[in-house]
Symmetry: C2
Subunit: 304 residues, 2 copies
DNA sequence: GCCATTGATACCCTGGTGGTATGAGTTCGG
DNA sequence: CCGAACTCATACCACCAGGGTATCAATGGC
């Protein structure tokens, strides 16, 4: 037995094959030829003493053990890449707090949060890490960012989080859309409308892992999405704070009665121990609480 | 840059050097020569673009980036070995639920828990994984066990847990000990007495990572410890349920007034999704709740 | 100032890792 | 029923990464 322990390369290969369920495609994705990949998987199975795939010449399927390994291998790979990224960051000449978020999806709190955070003694210079919908948790797990603003629900494996604010979700329609005649819509009204994601309007964000390439998204940023909305080719669900930021003449926003409110949260890796992360979380919670209190006050006393 | 990504071997090497702070000793521990180890660390630093150690010929110190990497590398290595162990287990012909505990430290609940668990439809045959004090959390992180019984407080990184029962801690003394004359003791009374761990009685269990070899523990199991207690060479702190199990004539148990109660908890890896683990946790909580209710009843109605 | 200690450098060599060519089994069309 | 296409496995080869040995160089203690 030369077994001893697994290597990262073996895990990468395994995940590639497990995701493609096809040795040739997996090899292509890995930039290598198929035979060494087959051999490597076989060697992995030998080391583990376990069959990971059931192969026919026409089909490759994961065994139960393979399913288990796929899950654990993914988290192990995340942990390794996170170690690398965090070490690089910690060794850099100018250490920074890297904040992951989707551009404009900050509930309008970001400037205030940054201000409060900057006043904290434990604060480091901050840096924004912008990413697409739902990519923030992965960025945190991979060590690309230290803390993030995310929309609930999100994939919280290995993360801790604290909710900041909850706000209604509006639908953005072209002003020309007949539905704008109504002041309130339901999901049923929107059935069949296309979403920027490309898929028909079922509701909610894509839950599966976003391994798809950017190319599949016809529009990757909100400006482009709202341009599409303006032309009437798609509709788009946006939290109220995002809607406030894009008050275009060609777009109308309407509340959706049966869509749950969107909750913005601050999230960070569970094992995070950095004082800067703690300071940012403190600042975010404080700003959210202040905003909440202000809203409450407005509601309580309509005539101040 | 041939960097791309880290390899497990590099992380193992780094952790060894970071723990030993000495290339020669680290190399010996890894079963290899010193020069390739030095070269490997240098290559790692080059890949990361970060200095991990400050070396003089007389001293090796971790840099800040090194500290960060040490923490993350440990968790990454845990994740990798866990993946291997869990895959092996999942692929075995007779899958089992592996329960980690320290022998006899189960609050007397284990038989009942196993009985209840066995009646659950989702249950698998169970297997006990016995380990020393505080080794259970590590066993769970390394994928050696699926669920465990642990004493609080414990190193809960990556684990979820549920408390089961809380009971007072007694001190075990030789019957010949003059302190047995008193019915109640405080920690101050025991100052200076030796504990089985070898260190003087400060109180509590060793908190640092138990990487020490078994040889450092003069007694590795409770039978041996209680033999030492009988001879008067050490005293020993034991939860009441453990004391009940060793009612030896040569040993007297006394409550310790200023020692916090011991809490037994059931713990499992956060990412665990197995129905068998869920069934065991359910069973453990149910049995604990039942026992708790029984105790309450006894206290409420002293004359039934 | 000499010596012991310890990390770095130089060099060699083995084995693992990847490439190419090809075989073998399965499925589908005719 | 046969052949073509597809796909995974096997055989064999080549390269270099990773480990070993010998040695140097720098530092600190006596």
């Amino acid at each position: 037995m030369s077994s001893g322990d697994l290597e990262v390369r073996q895990l990468r290969y395994f995940v590639a094959v497990a995701e493609e369920l096809h040795f040739g495609r997996a090899a292509a994705r890995l930039g290598m030829a198929q035979p060494p990949l087959s051999r490597s998987i076989r060697e992995l199975e030998r080391q583990l003493g376990v069959t990971l795939f059931e192969r026919t010449t026409r089909q490759v399927r994961l065994t139960a053990a393979g399913e288990v390994l796929l899950r654990d291998a993914r988290t192990a790979l995340e942990a390794v890449t996170a170690a690398a990224h965090r070490a690089r960051q910690a060794g850099s000449a100018s250490p920074r707090l890297r904040i992951a978020l989707k551009a404009d999806v900050d509930g309008g709190l970001l400037p205030q949060i940054l201000h409060t955070y900057g006043a904290d003694g434990a604060s480091l210079p901050s840096e924004l890490v912008l990413g697409g919908f739902g990519e923030q948790p992965q960025a945190l797990r991979d060590g690309i960012a230290d803390v993030g603003l995310v929309l609930c629900p999100f994939d919280g494996r290995g993360l801790d989080s604290e909710p900041l604010l909850t706000e209604p979700v509006l639908v953005a329609l072209a002003t020309a859309d007949p539905l704008t005649a109504r002041t309130r819509l339901s999901l049923a009204d929107l059935a069949g409308r296309k979403l920027p994601g490309g898929s028909p309007a079922s509701h909610g964000r894509p839950v599966e892992r976003p391994s798809r390439t950017e190319a599949e998204w016809p529009a990757s940023n909100l400006s482009e999405i709202f341009s599409l909305v303006e032309t009437g080719s798609v509709v788009f669900f946006a939290p109220a704070s995002v809607a406030r930021r894009y008050p275009r003449p060609g777009i109308a926003y309407r509340p959706v009665s049966d869509l749950p409110d969107a909750t913005l949260a601050v999230a960070w890796p569970q094992e995070a121990r950095s004082p800067a992360v703690a300071a940012f979380v403190r600042a975010a919670c404080a700003v959210a609480a202040a905003g909440h209190a202000r809203t409450e006050a407005l509601l309580q006393s309509p005539t101040p």
